[in-house]
């Protein structure tokens, strides 16, 4: 059953097409990821679905309620964790949840129990009575997750829930999100530009660039669309044509002394590929990541500044890290 539907949803700011005619259909209970670089239009899309940004054109509905005509009903269906922190740092963790429970009309007889349950879910029950100003960044984010879920929304929007957190905290937050999606049966729509992490939690991923959805599938499906494994070989001279002629090679290009090959079943064919090349300096074999998918679709890297380990490594014959260019 589809719980979110958008058709030709568009937002224009002056000359900027922040969101450009997006059509989405998100199923109940799904964890859906919107992936894209800075300025792609992720926050704007979520803003429109949450009724705080008015679309320039197009329409959308959540649980059957129109976001423009019935914003109050839509709001009752959703929870949101904004990209920027919005905790009330004068209040304690528990008070933040109390405030939220009242704003969402959670009735007083279940409020207390629900707050305790949520604090426990995010492991903050021991710090619940501390002023949130004294919380660490990760704790604040966890409390925001708890707050977003407090009123049992049908849909939970998470805008960059892990941005700026250290890897351990990020891993924990993804765990909570998975746990929540399962225990609460909540539909989750999240944005991130940590591709590897999105792969692990999302049932489906929409890749968004310049306000347009340019690919939409399960993480596996998106990676399969690459056509095979990625092999990078550092060479002195490159027999580009010979490799291109191999039947199982899907794509090959040379980039500053490195041959980048996409091939089916690299573990079966690597020996033959290597035998064609005379001077092999080093070899890297891996399965494609969503970042590779993004590069293939846009010609750009989604991560502008941070170089991180990308993807998992498979049967590499020789495993070297290439440093420098």
């Amino acid at each position: 059953m589809e719980i979110i539907k958008t058709s030709a949803l568009t937002k224009i700011y002056g000359r900027i097409q922040a969101v450009n005619s997006i059509d989405l259909s998100i199923h109940k209970g799904e964890v859906f990821g919107l992936l894209g670089p800075n300025g792609a239009g992720k926050t704007t899309t979520i803003g429109m679905l949450c009724t705080i940004v008015r679309p320039s054109s197009g329409s959308a509905s959540i649980a059957g309620y129109d976001i423009i005509r019935e914003p109050a009903r839509v709001r009752r269906q959703i929870g949101i964790v904004f990209q920027d922190p919005t905790l009330d740092t004068v209040l304690t963790g528990r008070e933040n949840l109390e405030l939220h429970a009242r704003l969402y009309g959670v009735s007083s007889d279940i409020r207390e129990a629900r707050i305790n349950q949520m604090l426990e879910l995010v492991d903050l029950h021991e710090r619940g009575n501390d002023i949130t100003r004294t919380y660490s960044g990760g704790m604040r984010r966890r409390l925001e997750l708890a707050r977003g879920l407090l009123h049992r929304p049908a849909v939970l929007f998470l805008d960059e829930p892990t941005l700026g957190l250290d890897p351990q905290t990020r891993a924990r937050i993804w765990e909570y999100i998975k746990k929540m999606a399962q225990t609460e049966q909540t539909t989750v729509v999240l944005t991130t530009h940590y591709m590897e992490e999105a792969e692990q939690v999302c049932d489906r991923v929409g890749i968004i660039d310049h306000g347009k959805i340019i690919a939409l599938d399960s993480p596996e499906g998106l990676k399969e669309s690459m056509g095979g494994d990625m092999v990078a070989i550092r060479v002195k001279e490159s027999p580009l044509e010979k490799i291109r002629a191999l039947p199982y090679v899907y794509e090959v290009k040379e980039n500053e002394g490195t041959l980048e090959i996409i091939t089916k079943e690299a573990h079966l064919h690597l020996a033959e590929i290597l035998s064609i090349i005379k001077d092999v300096e080093c070899v890297e074999v891996r399965v494609p990541t969503l970042n590779d998918v993004f590069i293939k679709l846009t010609g750009r890297d989604i991560r502008e500044d941070s170089i991180e380990d990308s993807g998992s490594w498979v049967d590499s014959v020789a495993r070297y890290r290439q440093r420098g260019s």
């Binding site: 949450c50 920027d84 009330d88 004068v90 209040l91 704003l103």
Partner: protein, 254 residues
């Protein structure tokens, strides 16, 4: 179904009020300074000037007591309202505004929160009223009512202005060109009589705060220029106008 909605709106309004009250309780230093400051006006400024001045046979300190109450209401209320600029900067307001509660309820919660802060501070100042021998303690409830209504007007005004500004830069401008003139032109510190220059008399009579000061002075000291019902009507009209204006601007705020 309709009843449930009204109940939810009331609960939302209460939530906003509750939050403001918590903030009020936590900011102890702010409360202390907001009470110490008027006391300094009364005891340092008042006894200084009072050494050589008395008005209508009343000790000057006693004479300005109602004016200083109005000052506390003025500054406390307008700054409380303007504070939403800061709330918005910190995105605290964003989480509230996306909740399924109407803007009007949030606005009313804020107004009541501000009025509660200010009224509690006024009550503390009333505890000192025994130090001012001319004050009639039986007038206190009526004075409190009038100051409460004044506070509704001024918190609304602060929220209205706060909805229009995006940065704190506006604070200085509003202080210099609105709050201080309202205070000085309210007759809080001097009597409004024919000795005043003509232009000043005119400005003072246009200032709604004048009527609050006059009304409070009337019930506490039995010194006034307008009948109490005139003061009461002007202040109430001011409150209704500001409340409506504030709720419109707050609802339209991005």
């Amino acid at each position: 179904m309709n009843e449930g909605r009204i109940q939810k709106e009331l609960m939302g309004m209460y939530a906003v009020w509750w939050r403001e009250f918590k903030v009020f309780q936590r900011e102890k230093s702010r409360i202390v300074s907001s009470i110490v400051q008027p006391l300094m006006w009364l005891f340092l400024f008042g006894s200084g000037v009072g050494a050589s001045v008395s008005v209508s046979d009343i000790n000057y300190q006693d004479y300005i007591y109602p004016g200083i109450l109005a000052m506390l209401v003025l500054f406390g209320s307008v700054y409380f309202g303007l504070y939403i600029v800061w709330d918005r900067k910190l995105d605290v307001l964003k989480a509230m505004l996306v909740a399924p509660v109407s803007r009007i309820s949030i606005f009313m919660g804020k107004v009541l929160g501000g009025c509660t802060d200010v009224t509690l501070q006024i009550i503390v100042l009333f505890l000192f009223s025994f130090l001012f021998p001319s004050i009639n303690p039986w007038g206190i409830p009526l004075a409190l009512l009038l100051l409460f209504i004044t506070s509704i007007a001024l918190v609304s005004m602060g929220l209205a202005l706060g909805s229009l500004f995006n940065s704190l830069e506006g604070f200085q401008v509003i202080s210099a060109f609105l709050i201080f003139p309202l205070f000085f032109l309210s007759g809080a510190l001097f009597p409004i009589d024919d000795k005043l220059p003509f232009w000043l008399q005119g400005l003072v009579k246009l200032n709604p705060l004048t009527y609050a000061v006059d009304g409070v002075r009337g019930v506490l000291l039995n010194v006034h220029i307008f009948p109490f019902y005139v003061d009461f009507l002007v202040v109430t009209f001011f409150a209704v106008t500001m409340f409506l204006l504030g709720s419109v601007l707050f609802s339209r705020m991005k």
